[in-house]
Symmetry: C2
Subunit: 312 residues, 2 copies
């Protein structure tokens, strides 16, 4: 197996494919485990290095994620793949580490209402939980910390940078080398917010080497926000192939920014991603056709119509 | 009639609604003149001040634009409306001025192949034609100069900034007060190109007070490019309601950036547009339903699903 250095992206930017987690999660009809495994393998084959393959969560709350352990078992040893697993609690984090997840992403929400809705506790309690998790797992386990609703909350509206800083002040010093991801969970962040929050955070925590951003494309602002974060020094970006991830209860509230749109923009800017954009777009077409999927993104349709459109 | 000062936007940014021209133009089924007039009036009622109501062009080449003189006659006196008409030649420009168009936008393409395809002449010949037009119309006629394919050409690919500067060197000194619009005709421009080209142009021509940008959203980059141009000092942006303007020969090659997406982003950033975003989104829904339309944009669907989504 090719050794993978988790936190040193081999390209100018790293696009983290979260489709199999954030994208599949809201899809109603169960996607067979074998199909999930095949998608992960083919995503990796397009040049994506890191894929969030699922989450360790309550199967009752998120039935689509019930087979994450099986997916993990199948893809863990895939050469060149860094399989990331999302966890919302210490307990789930320990389970993921015990299941030999190559990388774990611990998520907590900055906004109290959203955190309570997800895990029935306050952000402070989730922060303490994260601290216990770090104390209980090996130092060498690659970890990402996702701060959800870092810009805006579906319940409480705009989130102030100060609330993010309070959490980072407490959590960043706990462990060196953790990747910090600020998430625009609702897609209502605007690019000037990206500038302000990442500008403030990177200045306040110069020791953090790896900043990441998680964009949703609800209002078409995904790429604008990514570009602003890129200019602030962020080099790791989440995306979902076919822009999957729409909320079934909010028609039009589309999902993550499409990975193929991200890759197309960066490659066009001369910023290498390591991704074969045309191959990713083809695979995204298949994901878009999954029963119950709510696809988004733009580049896919153009690349399909004009196979040469990617040639600069 | 309320006097309108053409080139002093009353808000932080001015969104120029080009849907009735760039958006309607590729629609096959003829939109009745009365419907066009009604759309222009209702667009104005949402707070849009300037609307490109059509073009003076060959009715054989663009039958949808054949009734622009009639639309112009009907809306010219609408209080608070600045009706802009696109013209590709001196002759059409003189016709538009004779028809008392409140503002004319002269378009020429930076790329020789695209200019030849549009008007069967070189960019230099079109530049000379523009010079003759300026000499032949009153000094007080508000004029915009559109440089199409300023970033990328459907035939020749990427356009170098030097080619834009050669044209601006010749055309900017001809007349003070002209608004200069750099157009991403294909939607393949990326935000770093926006920075470079507008950065260079605004530094080279400090006397130009009004810079504008025309974005297409083909690859989902519309808002990203607008944001980058905004940061370079641009304050006038074209958009089409419902993101109309897709090319019927390139499925997925969607049209202009949606005016409602533009307005949503700017208002959310605290940059005033004067537009009632919810009202514009409702009207855009009607435009999206026009037979033969290929709508785009994102905010519309979310605003429809969650009427409160616009509340910051």
């Amino acid at each position: 197996m090719t050794p993978v250095s988790p936190l040193s992206p081999p390209h100018d930017v790293e696009i983290v494919e979260v489709g199999p987690r954030d994208g599949f999660q809201p899809i109603g009809p169960f996607i067979p485990t074998s199909a999930k495994i095949e998608f992960v393998r083919r995503l990796k084959a397009t040049g994506l290095r890191r894929v969030e393959i699922g989450s360790f969560v309550s199967a009752a709350a998120l039935p689509q994620m019930a087979d994450t352990p099986a997916v993990l078992d199948a893809v863990r040893g895939e050469p060149g793949l860094l399989a990331q697993v999302l966890v919302p609690t210490e307990r789930r984090g320990r389970e993921a580490v015990a299941a030999r997840a190559p990388m774990i992403a611990y998520v907590l929400s900055v906004s109290p209402a959203h955190n309570r809705n997800n895990v029935r506790r306050s952000p402070e309690d989730s922060a303490a939980d994260y601290e216990r998790l770090l104390a209980g797992i090996p130092d060498e386990t690659p970890v990402r910390l996702n701060l959800a609703t870092a810009f805006d909350c579906p319940f409480d509206g705009r989130v102030e940078p100060a609330a993010v800083m309070v959490l980072l002040d407490r959590l960043v010093p706990l462990r060196a080398g953790v990747e910090i991801c600020l998430c625009d969970t609702t897609g209502r962040a605007v690019p000037d917010q990206m500038r302000r929050l990442f500008g403030e955070a990177t200045a306040r925590f110069p020791g953090v080497r790896h900043w990441a951003m998680h964009a949703h494309d609800t209002y078409g602002l995904g790429l604008a926000n990514v570009f602003a974060a890129y200019e602030e020094g962020v080099r790791v970006f989440d995306g979902a192939f076919a822009g999957l991830g729409g909320c079934p209860f909010a028609p039009g509230a589309t999902g993550n920014v499409a990975s193929e749109d991200l890759a197309w923009m960066f490659e066009r800017m001369g910023v290498s991603t390591g991704i074969d954009v045309a191959a990713l777009a083809d695979l995204a077409d298949e994901a878009a056709a999954l029963p119950g999927a709510q696809p988004g993104g733009r580049a896919r349709a153009v690349l399909r119509a004009r196979p040469d459109a990617c040639a600069a």
